[in-house]
Amino acid sequence: MVVMENVRKVYESSNTVALENVSFTINDGEFVFLVGPSGSGKTTLMKLITGEVRPTAGTVIVNDFNMGAIKRRKLPKMRRTLGVVFQDYRLIENMNVYDNVAFAMRVVGAPNSEIRKRVPYMLELVGLEGREKRMPTELSGGEQQRVAIARALVNSPRMIVADEPTGNLDPVRSLELMLLLEKINEMGTTVVVVTHEKELVNAFSKRVIKIDSGKMIGDGMDGYYE
């Protein structure tokens, strides 16, 4: 769950107002597109959700954590409730597919027995069974992004936040990836997709929150992005 109330974010180093008076709520189990042109403030919104930056004013609550007041030592606990997917996949190149996914479990202290059960299940879910031993460079862009999704999901987060997940993919692979995220959402995980790809957003009938020049200019269930 994400609650934003009158959020303002100013980057003091450059004195840039990135967000101004943004308010919305994303409930558990929702699938939401966060859309807007480049420089509109989408990435800042995502960084507020992941705790990479703090709001200058207003309230940001993510999975019951108040992000404006959260202590640094509590951030890891909050982040375990999130799964993050990036445009550039961010896989570890010297680890194979299995280890890339297992890595996310190892670093939060999951026992080996659980890793051995959970990783193959996740790889099957994203359609990568049989590719465990492949290195990232041996996979297509779509497959690499699936590994990234498996890694984001493997610790059973309450919410997946995907930042331009289809930015490096062709239209067919993009559609496949969105269908995968839709499937994950149907299994109960909240999904927030940050994107500027109008065709993709309009292909799905989902809630769309529109941002432009740091301001919220629309929030509707029509699934349409002009």
Binding site: T50, R73, L82, G83, V84, R90, V107, R151
Partner: protein, 293 residues
Amino acid sequence: MSRYGYLIREGFRSITTHGFMSFASVTIIMACLIIMGSVSLLSLNIDALIKDLEDQNEIVVFVDESLNDEESARELQKNIEAIENISSAEFVSRDEAMDNFMSKYDEELMEGIDETVFRHRYIVHLTDIALMSQTKMELESLRGVAKVNAHLDYAQSFVTIRNVVSIVSLVLIVILVFVSFFIMSNTIKLATFGRREEIAIMKMVGAANGFIRLPFVVEGLVLGILGGGLAFLAEWGLYNLVTGRIVGSVTGALLNVVPFKSVALHVFIIYMAVGVLVGAFGGVNAIKNYLKV
């Protein structure tokens, strides 16, 4: 494998992955420790030498003529020894003083002169030569003391040499510890740069900072311990080689060199401690910027 086992293995893996930088790091730590150790051992030897010279630098306390008989003169001993800075006081009677004089000079000089021209005296050694002036005054103030002969200028020279050596050693040691620390830190920074993606992913999936730090601390510790251990062995060989040459030379044979065996345990513990501290803090320092997000 437990999660800690995995992270410790990662620390070791990074050492081999960044082989050249690891080698450079160990070499620099070794070099710093050897220079630091050599300066300290030189300082220790100079200190020992000064101590020897201090022992030889005696004060002569002449007994007043009012305590003419030997028995009265000997009673002064307890008063002299009661002064805090006195390590020993040896009584020399006027007969002994005359015998000593006669043994050094031509007997003809003493012709017609009896022992009464010599005074009873004490040969006094001090605990701390730096306090010679004060001790001389205390001795002069004792009833029954006629005169005190002390080489204050020599004493001052010894004290100055010792202080200069101590200060130079300390400054060099502090500088070298900092140099080692920054080199170690920068070496591990290179490792962190190569693994920044891994660190970012660890942060994003909710790994605790202590957990993320562990492989880098392990790497620093291993490099530090390796550098410390090798530096100890090299110092051992170098010290024995240099002191062997000195003792074997004509002038050096007169010097009393501190044997390495007598300080080996201390050197080993200090090298290891410096290696461990420089390594661990270097690792922590190298990664701190990545943990702020």
